[in-house]
Symmetry: C2
Subunit: 250 residues, 2 copies
């Protein structure tokens, strides 16, 4: 089965690398950003084009959600399978007379960061059972963590990933900001960050909760609020503290 990856961002970058490493036949990377495509093409050793989409059996659209619809119209072949990597959009966001699917890798992808793809969760969802099998087998070449989920579940999975990854990383960024403003090396926090992520492998996050909010320790809470001068940071502190208190009230 020949494949083409469309896009040159973080997801395209990692999917191209994952496909090559798994021995999947990748015949082209296609997109608009020639500079990034050129780099990706060098990195994985595959042809690229910004003009002409090569004929292949499978096209994986790895662009941002807002580009998917337009990009999908560029595929003018009928007997091919096209999937996008969006966590939110339905298969029907793809416009064309080909077979449509979703192929969703659940991870935080940055070009500067190498990944082990063997545990990367993949979620597939095609309109036809034969395509589900085909995509499951394709994903299994890359990873041993593959499942079929429907569109409703995928949207919710993506939402939960925004909480567990994007928002979590932002809290790391806010913590680093506090350290920087007070001449404290951020590295002191790394064992704590590691243990916090590790802990939930043996305790549920609700059992693992510690800190002033879960104890509803208003003295510490008010004291910490008094330490925060940045209004955005204070809003984050108050909202999360309230959210913790409410979760344990129930």
């Amino acid at each position: 089965m020949t494949t083409v990856i469309i896009g040159s961002g973080n997801v395209a970058w990692h999917m191209a690398k994952a496909f090559k490493q798994a021995g999947i036949e990748l015949v082209q990377v296609f997109g608009r950003n020639e500079k990034e495509l050129h780099k990706l093409s060098q990195e994985v050793g595959v042809a690229y084009s910004t003009q002409e989409l090569t004929r292949a059996d499978f096209y994986l659209i790895c662009t941002s959600d807002k580009a998917i619809h337009e990009v999908s119209k560029l595929i003018n072949y009928e007997n091919v399978l096209v999937a996008h990597t969006s966590g939110s959009l339905s298969r029907e966001a793809l416009e064309g007379s080909y077979r449509k699917a979703s192929f969703y890798p659940l991870q935080t992808f940055s070009k500067a960061r190498a990944l082990d793809y063997s545990r990367l969760p993949f979620f597939v969802d095609a309109g036809w059972e034969a395509d589900n099998i085909l995509l499951m087998n394709l994903a299994k070449k890359i990873s041993n963590n593959v499942a079929q989920i429907n569109h409703h579940q995928r949207k919710q999975m993506h939402l939960s990933a925004v909480f567990a990854c994007n928002f979590v990383n932002h809290l790391y960024a806010r913590a680093q900001q506090i350290c920087q403003h007070n001449d404290i090396p951020f590295d002191f926090l790394l064992p704590l960050i590691e243990e916090t992520a590790d802990k939930i492998k043996t305790l549920s996050p609700m059992e693992a909760q510690t800190g002033p909010a879960v104890r509803n320790d208003q003295n510490v809470i008010e004291f910490q609020e008094s330490l925060i001068s940045n209004s955005e940071l204070l809003k984050v502190y108050k909202t999360l503290t309230e959210s913790i208190i409410k979760m344990y009230e129930l």
Copy 2:
């Protein structure tokens, strides 16, 4: 040097274990909660009392912040060193005619979770240089990650830990809630959670940020907001999304 640990909560539990493992002479665990003290006493093989505080060279008060002041008055010896483990309170929260210090271990402690103490960051701050040296040496018996920081820095360190640990864990709990409500195994999120924590060892959190908010992708943001029916969850989503957008605007 003989030591006594006061308290029977998560911090007391781990400090007692850490002291014993490091070969520090722990002569008593003291507190009000007999049931928990009894368990701790069994766990580490040390005497306990709810009534009579044994004479020792060093007392470590591991209670909650609100109990520290009252508890500190129970130590009626003069030529001894007393420290608390609070991230917020000053040494002067201790009332007595002994030498005062802070001995702050930066970690999330749960009794049900065993820890490797060798990388546990300890921050010491005593009123006398000799006591700083004494406490640095004590902490170094347990861990190779020991520093002296002043009260201002300790308060800020504690604040940043609330963001990087307590709030992060709460986001894991919220993510798990979303998974549970939609019949998705939470385990699918573990590689993502692990990578998110791991990533900031090689990229700064600001560089590591991914997701709809950092791209200011209003379509995805509005779509995800429409998926959230729980008002508390929606408030968390909106606050953190706004905080990310503002951080990258600057």
